[in-house]
C-alpha cells in the first residue's frame, strides 16, 4: 500500500486538479469522510496480516497493534497441513489459461466486432451483452452435468478453465478500444496490401496496449478468486486452486491446528496478496471509464 501512496500525487494531479479546484476550494470535509471510510475498508486487510503473524490470537483492541512477538510460524503451520505451493501452481495454471484464451480469442472477437462486417455480428454483440447479465452460478448444474458427467473432465485443468475461458467483459473492452481507432488507419494499411491479420497485428494491436492491460487485470480476478466452480470440479486435493484449498481448510481441518485463526489468516494473506499487489501497482489502468463502458453496454 505504501507504494500507491507515494505514487499518488503525480497520477492524480493532471486529471483531477483543475475542475475540482475551480468548483469548490473547500474539499477537506469530503477528504475527512473519505479517509475515515478508507480506514474502515482497509482495516480488515491490515488485521489479516497482523493476525497471521501472531503466535496466539489476541482479539483485544490492543492485539491489533502488537509491539512484538510476531512470528512466521502460522505460515509454516498452514503449509504443513495443505500443499500451499501446489495450490498456488494450480491457481496460476487456472488463471493463466483463462487469461491466455481471453487475450487470444477475445482480441480476435473484439476486432471482428468493431472492424469487420460479417453475418451475425449484431447477434453476437447482443449475446456478448446478455452473457454479462445472466450470472454464471445459475448455470452450474447444466455445466457440471456437461463437464464432469458427460465429458469426464473432473480434476483436470481443462475442466476448470473451460467455463471461464473467454471473459465477455474483456471482449467488450477490446471492441470499444478498436472502435475508437480512426478508420483511415485501417483503409491505409489495407491499400498497402496488408491482410486483415497483419492489420490487426501490426497496426491495431500496438495502439490498444492499455486496453490489453486493463482486460488482463479484469480477467485475472475472475479465476484467481473463484471458489464455487473449481470447488465442484476438483475432488483431488492436489488439483485444487488456493481458494478451494483454503476454504476446505477453514471448514474441515482448521480445528486441529494449534492456532487455527493464525493459520487460516496466513493462507488468506497468500491468497489475497497477488491480487492486492497487482491492483495497487497498476491502479491507474483500472479506471472508471474502462470498466464503466465495459459493463454499461
Amino acid at each position: 500500500m505504501a507504494a500507491t501512496e507515494t505514487r499518488t500525487p503525480p497520477v492524480a494531479a493532471p486529471d483531477a486538479g483543475k475542475p475540482a479546484a475551480r468548483r469548490k476550494p473547500r474539499s477537506w470535509p469530503s477528504l475527512l469522510v473519505l479517509l475515515l471510510g478508507a480506514l474502515v475498508f482497509l482495516f480488515p486487510f491490515y488485521y489479516m496480516v497482523v493476525g497471521s503473524l501472531q503466535a496466539k490470537p489476541d482479539t483485544s483492541l490492543g492485539g491489533a497493534f502488537p509491539t512484538g512477538g510476531l512470528t512466521l510460524h502460522n505460515y509454516g503451520e498452514i503449509n504443513g497441513r495443505v500443499n500451499l505451493g501446489k495450490s498456488l501452481v494450480n491457481s496460476g495454471i487456472f488463471t493463466g489459461g483463462v487469461i491466455l484464451a481471453t487475450v487470444v480469442f477475445g482480441v480476435l472477437a473484439g476486432y471482428a466486432l468493431a472492424r469487420l462486417q460479417f453475418r451475425g455480428r449484431g447477434t453476437l454483440f447482443a449475446a456478448m451483452l446478455l452473457v454479462q447479465i445472466v450470472p454464471f452460478q445459475l448455470l452450474i448444474i447444466p455445466i457440471y452435468v456437461m463437464i464432469v458427467r458427460s465429458y469426464g473432465l473432473a480434476d483436470t485443468y481443462l475442466g476448470m478453465i473451460l467455463p471461464f475461458a473467454i471473459n465477455s467483459t474483456a471482449v467488450f473492452i477490446f471492441r470499444q478500444f478498436f472502435l475508437q481507432l480512426p478508420e483511415e488507419l485501417f483503409s491505409a494499411a489495407r491499400l498497402d496490401g496488408a491482410g486483415e491479420f497483419r492489420v490487426l497485428w501490426s497496426v491495431a494491436l500496438p495502439l490498444v496496449r492499455p486496453a490489453l492491460l486493463t482486460a488482463v487485470l479484469l480477467t485475472f480476478i475472475g479465476p484467481w478468486n473463484e471458489f464455487l466452480w473449481p470447488f465442484l470440479v476438483t475432488k483431488q486435493t492436489d488439483m485444487q486452486p488456493l481458494a478451494v484449498t483454503l476454504a476446505n481448510y477453514i471448514s474441515n481441518i482448521a480445528g486441529r491446528a494449534s492456532n487455527p485463526f493464525g493459520a487460516i489468516l496466513a493462507g488468506a494473506v497468500v491468497l489475497a496478496a497477488p491480487a492486492v499487489a497487482l491492483f495497487a501497482v497498476f491502479q491507474k489502468h483500472f479506471i472508471a471509464s474502462d470498466l464503466g463502458s465495459g459493463l454499461k453496454g
Partner: protein, 310 residues
C-alpha cells in the same frame, strides 16, 4: 468471341462473390476471427441455458459418461417439489432479506462516496484504490478475516463488551443474514463507486455552478442535480447488486458454516448445491435455478419501471 467469354468468366465469380457476401457479410474473415468466441458462447452459455430448462422438466439423475438411461418428461413435477419445500422457500426469503439491506446501502454509500471522491484532489488515487481493493480480493480470503472479527471471542465482541449480541453474530439466526449482507456490501462497493465515478463525469458542471449561484448548498445540489443526473447508472447498480445477491454462495457456505444457524442464512444457490450435487437431484436443482433467473428478471423489470419513471 473472346470478349464474350471474358465477360462470362468475370461474371461468374463476381455473382458468386455477391452471393457469398449476402450469405457471410462483406468481410467473412470476421466469422473466422469471432469463430472461437461464437463457439464458446454457444457451447458454454446458450446450450447450458437450454439444458437447465430441459433438465428441470425431466426426471434427471447423474449417470456414468456414455451410459444410456431413461429420463422421462415429468412436466412441472420438479417445480412442485421445489415450491413446496420449506428449505427452498426459506432460502428465497433469506435472499429477500439480504437484498433489502444490501441494495439500498450499496446505492447510497456508493453514490455518496463517489461524489466525495469526485470533489477531492489530494490522495484521490490512494482513496479510490482503497475502496476497490476488497472487490478484487477473493471472498474466501476476506471471509477468513470476518470469521476472526465476528467470532464469539472476536474483536467486534471485545469492543462491544456487554453490548455484544448473544448468541454471537454468525450463530445468531437474526443476525447471520445481516452480517452477510454487510460483508457483500463492503466487498462490492468499490466496483459500484467506479461505475458512479464514470457517470459523474457526464453530469454537466454548469448545472452545479448555476445551483451554487442560486444559493443551493452541497446537500441540495447533490439531491437535485447529482441524484437525477446519474439515474441510468443507479438502475444498473441496483440490477447488478440484485444479480450479485441472487448468486450468493461462498458467504453462506463459509462465513455461517453452511447457511447456519438452522438454515437462517441459506441462499438459493447454496440449496442448489446441496440438492443438486450433494444429494444427487440435479433436476430439482435446475428447477431452482430457472425460478431464480425468472425472479431476477422480474425484479429487474420492476426496478426499471420504478427507477426510470419520470
Amino acid at each position: 468471341m473472346t470478349t464474350d467469354l471474358e465477360t462470362a468468366d468475370a461474371a461468374r465469380p463476381s455473382s458468386l462473390r455477391s452471393r457469398l457476401t449476402a450469405l457471410l457479410g462483406r468481410q467473412p474473415l470476421g466469422l473466422l476471427f469471432a469463430g472461437p468466441y461464437m463457439v464458446f458462447l454457444a457451447a458454454l452459455f446458450a446450450y447450458p441455458l437450454g439444458l437447465a430448462v430441459w433438465i428441470s422438466f425431466h426426471r434427471y439423475f447423474f449417470a456414468a459418461p456414455g451410459a444410456q438411461v431413461d429420463r422421462p418428461f415429468v412436466g412441472f413435477n420438479n417445480y412442485k417439489t421445489v415450491l413446496s419445500d420449506p428449505a427452498v422457500r426459506k432460502s428465497f426469503l433469506n435472499v429477500g432479506e439480504f437484498l433489502v439491506i444490501n441494495v439500498p446501502l450499496t446505492v447510497v454509500l456508493a453514490l455518496v462516496l463517489a461524489t466525495a471522491l469526485n470533489s477531492v484532489v489530494r490522495l484521490r488515487s490512494f482513496l479510490r484504490t482503497s475502496y476497490y481493493i476488497p472487490y478484487v480480493t477473493a471472498s474466501v480470503a476476506l471471509v477468513a478475516v470476518w470469521l476472526f472479527l465476528f467470532s464469539q471471542d472476536g474483536m467486534v465482541n471485545h469492543l462491544l463488551g456487554p453490548a455484544a449480541p448473544k448468541p454471537s453474530w454468525l450463530v445468531n439466526s437474526g443476525l447471520a443474514m445481516p452480517v452477510i449482507a454487510l460483508f457483500v456490501t463492503w466487498k462490492q462497493l468499490g466496483f459500484f463507486i467506479l461505475l458512479y465515478l464514470a457517470a459523474l463525469q457526464g453530469v454537466s458542471k454548469e448545472l452545479y455552478e448555476a445551483a451554487s449561484i442560486d444559493g443551493a448548498g452541497r446537500v441540495r445540489s447533490f439531491l437535485s442535480i447529482t441524484v437525477p443526473g446519474v439515474r441510468p447508472v443507479t438502475t444498473l447498480v441496483v440490477i447488478l447488486a440484485t444479480i450479485t445477491g441472487a448468486n450468493l454462495f461462498t458467504e453462506p457456505y463459509l462465513l455461517t458454516n453452511g447457511g447456519g444457524p438452522d438454515g437462517a442464512s441459506t441462499s438459493p444457490v447454496f440449496v442448489m448445491y446441496q440438492k443438486g450435487i450433494e444429494q444427487g437431484n440435479p433436476d430439482v436443482a435446475a428447477a431452482i435455478g430457472v425460478i431464480l433467473v425468472v425472479v431476477v428478471l422480474l425484479i429487474s423489470l420492476i426496478y426499471r419501471r420504478v427507477l426510470e419513471r419520470d
